[in-house]
């Protein structure tokens, strides 16, 4: 039976092991954002042996490029982008101790294997619900790569950001199981 839980970083291996495919997870506390461009820079820094702007150990990464905040607002629309584009960078991020990712869309077999190897979890947020999710974001600031605009790394403070476990650290894959349950062969 699926459960509903809150998840607040720092995330431990035990917290990850407890999360199963289909569980509803309300994300709270401080999380970080990154899309393709930020990932590329992070890996370039690593290759050059330089320090990263954020310590990702125990953290949650949200794949999002928010729309600009109106004056006086925290942030604009902030729904998930397609995670698949980050797959090539993800095993390295997990090796650094990243524990959870929030996005939408399928992950590669390499990422799914890495979730098991490094005890991490992939959470899905509702794609295209950018206004709804925006309401869960209570503070936002750019902490790295400001020249990337919407693709800069932001530090977000979130309250009950609604997600669902797509890929757990035990090999569970909600996209596969959900699709099979409803597929019809005529």
């Amino acid at each position: 039976m699926n459960k509903k839980v809150k998840l607040t970083p720092p995330v431990t291996d035990d917290m990850v092991r407890d999360l199963l495919m289909g569980d509803q997870v309300l994300v709270n506390g401080v999380i970080y954002t990154a899309r393709d461009a930020a990932h590329k820079r992070l890996l370039e820094l690593l290759e050059a042996g330089q320090k990263l702007p954020v310590d990702f150990a125990g953290q949650i990464l949200y794949y999002v490029g928010p729309s600009p905040a109106r004056p006086g607002r925290v942030i604009g629309a902030a729904g998930p982008t397609t995670s698949t584009r980050m797959d090539v960078y993800t095993p390295t991020m997990l090796k650094l101790g990243l524990k959870a990712m929030i996005g939408k869309g399928k992950r590669s077999p390499e990422v799914i294997a890495a979730l098991q190897e490094y005890t991490a979890v992939y959470l899905g947020a509702t794609g295209g619900a950018g206004a709804l999710i925006s309401k869960c974001i209570k503070a936002a600031e750019v902490v790295a790569f400001p020249d990337l605009g919407p693709e800069a790394i932001h530090r977000l403070e979130v309250e009950d950001l609604p997600t669902i476990v797509i890929n757990d650290c035990h090999g569970g894959d909600l996209y596969e199981v959900g699709r099979r349950e409803f597929a019809r062969v005529r």
Binding site: G22, A37, V64, G65, P66, S67, P68, A69, R70, G76, A77, A78, G79, T81, T82, T84, K104, G105, K106, G124, T126, G127, G128, A129, G130, A131, L132, S134, K135, G149, P150, P162, I164, L174, Y175, V177, G178, R179, R180, E181, F182, A183, R184, V185, R186
Partner: protein
């Protein structure tokens, strides 16, 4: 000759781009409400509920429907009796897009393909212009998201593959795209023409109302059959599993070369955003 000042075009495009990103049209809202009723999967039902709530918040609190405010695509039907005054027609559209995305607090999502440097104002927009009889200017301003565009495909089929080949490609394209393209999706299918025409037909098909069906009964039946086949995949809202993977399949077709059977499948996420203006 009828005179239209390009300033009028700039303002019309600006307003349309902003409206498209904040106001869900009635046609899509009705499709969401129907989906919430009809979807059998509890997780899928919840997604429809969230999409209705998202539309309410976007409109009332002035937050864009989606952070991906899209690449602007403009379909222009230009009456041949119009004379544009005060500047270039295409430049006026680009300026309207620029102002709409800046003044409307919309995300600028256009960049150099190789350096990935953002152009900063969401231009250049893609403009498709047709010259038509009369003295009216009909503009359709579309905000097209990148995720669903990435799942779209074009095939140059052999004529022998025929209708069966088209059906296979539509279903295979949706199966591959799956949760990545923000289902429940709408499919624009362009059949015939040539390489580039099929893609434009597919995109144009997405401008039709999600609730309509093709005036040609054979194509209407094909749309219905493709919708059923796609929904049999079980991908469901947000890809969590469910009966409703697509809300509609829209076909546009025109004659093609005797050697060819082009078919383009343009996927539209549920954040379908387009606004019509007639000047």
């Amino acid at each position: 000759m009828r005179q239209i000042k390009v300033n009028t075009i700039i303002n019309a495009v600006k307003d349309a781009a902003i409206q498209a990103n904040y106001e869900k049209d009635e046609d899509m809202l009705a499709a969401f409400a129907r989906g919430e009723q009809e979807e059998e999967s509890p997780a899928g039902k919840e997604i429809f509920r969230q999409l209705l709530e998202n539309a309410r918040i976007a409109s009332q609190e002035r937050i864009p429907l989606c952070q991906d405010c899209g690449l602007a695509v403009i379909f222009a039907e230009v009456g041949q009796e119009i004379h544009f005054e005060g500047g270039g027609f295409a430049e006026a559209i680009q300026e309207g897009v620029r102002r709409g995305y800046i003044e409307g607090h919309l995300r600028k999502s256009v960049c150099h393909p190789l350096t990935r440097k953002n152009t900063g104002d969401n231009t250049p927009a893609i403009i498709h212009t047709d010259i038509v009889p009369g003295d009216r200017l009909h503009l359709t301003v579309v905000s097209k998201g990148g995720g669903s565009e990435n799942g779209s495909k074009l095939f140059m089929l052999k004529p022998a593959e025929g209708l069966a080949g088209i059906k296979d490609k539509v279903v295979a394209t949706v199966a591959e795209a799956g949760p990545n393209v923000c289902p429940p999706m709408i499919l624009g299918v362009g059949i015939g023409g040539n390489f580039e025409r099929s893609a434009i037909l597919a995109k144009k098909a997405l401008l039709r109302k999600v609730s309509d069906s093709h005036p040609d009964p054979e194509l209407a039946a094909l749309e219905k059959e493709l919708l059923a086949s796609v929904n049999d995949l079980g991908i469901g809202p947000s890809g969590l599993g469910g009966r409703i993977t697509a809300l509609g399949v829209k076909i546009l077709m025109q004659p093609c070369h005797i050697a060819s059977l082009p078919v383009a499948i343009n996927i539209q996420c549920h954040s379908s955003r387009h606004v019509d203006v007639v000047l």
